[in-house]
Symmetry: C2
Subunit: 421 residues, 2 copies
């Protein structure tokens, strides 16, 4: 099944190509000059988007194009309103300095949405990955995903109230968490779907910069994409990103590509059963991993009142509270237990901890590592790195922005100049 995220990622070159076992399509017609220019513009824009201001001289080397081509491409991106070119302020060598190409990170932005179990967040994120504006609103317990549309649309409108006249929105994307909680604390496994993106587009018709063509994806998947693009797993091909909030989900990258599964519902690792006689889980099963490593497990072990944050327990442990410390290390041990399973299944280069699991891992890394070393197969743990996420709670927003920028990075001629013509 082609899920919306998979479709968006296919545009991004990050999803599977058509099945090689199927009758292959005939080869594409030879790329024309126009197509090559478009690809080169995209390559240059993507480079400065990911790596920041870069001199023409460096771009010449990185993109493998000659100086005059680089100059022409940069000029075209300047004319399109996507980058600026400036003489560097600190030339390092003698001779005429190479102009520096920078993304126009204030003018050109993406709308990033994060629908979390207990809050809604909206960011405008500039080309280059800079957060320009960040707003949030509480999410009522027990509310359905579509109930969030008006509040999210309102946050987006607020975020665009003082836009410059020439601002350009390159697109929008939403990271949608897969759990919600009722008032009585019952956790439900839910999930996003295309209707949310469609409804959000519809709610914004006539507002701001026009239709954004929202796409959506699972929050853990999108946060994994962020850590894979700009975070601790940049450049790593095989990664398991674990996101803790009410439950535990994973975003998994294998061979440089995000695993989405048949219906975009892969990575529900919190519902991997690790204990046949374990506790009852919100999903109806028993002994699911998240019953031992979710926030509820930490609070239960720490005898902390509902509503206490994971961070509060971690802090109490650091201050010497022995109940909190036992709770932390008990959860960390179970965390290592499930990580070992995932390491045996995926043989990743790196496991990244995000959300509440980031706090747990940061405070009890030794306990997690010890359990992984006890349980994972030697060949699979040899090169394994365990890491706290580098982007913290912004990961879902940064990942959503990457997804939202993808059309523009693939074809910069879709940019502001095209819109104003």
């Amino acid at each position: 099944m082609v899920t919306p995220l998979r479709r968006a990622l296919r545009r991004a070159g990050s999803a599977p190509a058509p099945d090689p076992q199927q009758p292959p399509a005939p080869p594409p017609p030879a790329a024309g000059q126009e197509e090559i220019r478009r690809q080169n513009l995209g390559a240059m824009l993507r480079y400065v988007h990911l790596h920041g201001p870069t001199s023409r001289a460096e771009l010449t080397g990185r993109l493998g194009l000659n100086r005059s081509t680089i100059g022409a491409l940069a000029a075209e991106l300047v004319a399109s309103g996507l980058v600026t070119e400036e003489v560097p302020t600190t030339p390092r060598r003698a001779g005429r300095p190479s102009l520096v190409v920078s993304p126009r990170s204030v003018r050109v932005y993406a709308t990033a949405v994060s629908v979390e179990p207990e809050r809604l967040r909206v960011a405008r994120i500039g080309l280059g990955g800079r957060i320009l504006d960040l707003r949030e609103a509480p999410r009522p317990h027990g509310s359905a995903l579509l109930d969030a549309v008006p509040a999210v649309a309102a946050l987006i409108r607020e975020s665009e109230r003082e836009l410059a006249a020439d601002a350009f929105c390159a697109g929008g994307a939403a990271a949608v968490a897969d759990t919600t909680r009722d008032d009585d604390g019952t956790v439900h496994v839910t999930g996003g779907d295309e209707t949310f993106a469609v409804a959000l587009d519809a709610a914004l018709v006539g507002d701001g910069p026009g239709r954004r063509g929202f796409v959506w994806g699972d929050l853990a998947d999108i946060a994994a994409l962020a850590e894979h693009t700009r975070g601790v797993a940049a450049g790593v091909d095989d990664l398991v990103y674990l996101h803790g909030d009410l439950g535990v989900s994973a975003g998994i990258v294998t061979g440089g590509r995000l695993v989405t599964g048949h219906g975009g519902r892969s990575g529900k690792v919190g519902h991997m059963v690790v204990h046949p006689h374990g506790r009852r889980c919100g999903c109806g099963s028993r002994g699911c991993w998240e019953t031992e490593v979710g926030v509820a497990a930490l609070l239960r072990r720490a005898a902390a009142p509902p509503g206490t944050s994971a961070l509060a327990v971690v802090r109490a442990a650091a201050l010497g509270d022995s109940t909190a410390r036992d709770a932390l290390h008990g959860v960390a041990d179970w965390l290592g237990f499930g990580v070992a399973n995932l390491v045996n299944v995926f043989n990743p280069d790196i496991v990244v901890f995000g959300g509440t699991l980031r706090e747990v891992y940061a405070a009890a890394a030794g306990t997690v590592r010890h359990r992984v070393d006890t349980m994972a197969l030697p060949a699979s743990r040899e090169h394994l790195q365990l890491r706290a996420g580098a982007l913290g709670p912004d990961a879902p927003l940064i990942g959503a922005a990457e997804l939202a920028f993808e059309n523009l990075l693939t074809d910069p001629l879709l940019g502001p100049a095209a819109g104003s013509q």
Copy 2:
């Protein structure tokens, strides 16, 4: 890390492209006529390899090329010695019949090797997937992988003793199981590596059709590739193939691409711990899934003597032996337990059972399904199919042949005509 299997699959178009998050390479130069012809020859050869004899008229439609191009390509493949063209014996319509293009499945073959815990198998498999010759030898308990090289090389030489003068070997590949057993029954987790392929090539220097350029892969991965290419999961993008022998391994395809992991060691699902207080496993851990679903678990439950085959227990159950029946359904229940975990993690379209698990599933599908329906998340089990593998014990050999043919299918100009020039 680029594992040999990943490298081979990349040639096959079935492995990840370079990381899209990295600075992209400049676009390739416009494809020349020669390159397009090569791609078209590959597309036609792959089509008849996978689908069997096909009329020019059908190829015209399937490949989206015009009739004269199809005629020229077919003529070139005939001249290369890779296909034949014949007037169909049963024309269905009036008018001049369309010539039928068939792979030369006796002349052109691949050398497929399957290194299993207790036997070594070698097959010559013709273009089109037909097994031309199949030989096996026992594998001594406790022997290392490299110990198998002389015996495998001898089987290959035997299989080529009566080759036709114009026979052409397109390449070789080995599927290597990841477990071995000592004489005392202790199971070890091992794995293949590049040295086996190199040693096998070296052992065959000067024999038969020259250097095969052996590649190797994990047996479960290669069997998964076979079911994905020619078996029950043909055309399916998201698949978990489970292979049972001494242990349990998986070959996993997500988004149409095989998951290999950092070092080619993904899919060790038998060592997913499902019971923290469970039985001691050969890997040193406790409560691994394979301690409940491997052959040893079936024999233990059935109180059958070591060396009894899984099939014998399944047959005894079918004949009404209540101990055997309880053993079968006990194992089937645990099988469903782990499958539910994998379904929550991967959200596959289909789970395929191979090796000894094929027998267990075929005899107790209802028990497996019931456990999956109890434990897997509703959204992930909705479209889920469970199936016995279609290729049976030949799956690793058929998958290895697909891997071995890949160079030729990518570039048919490497074929026999090139070799004889």
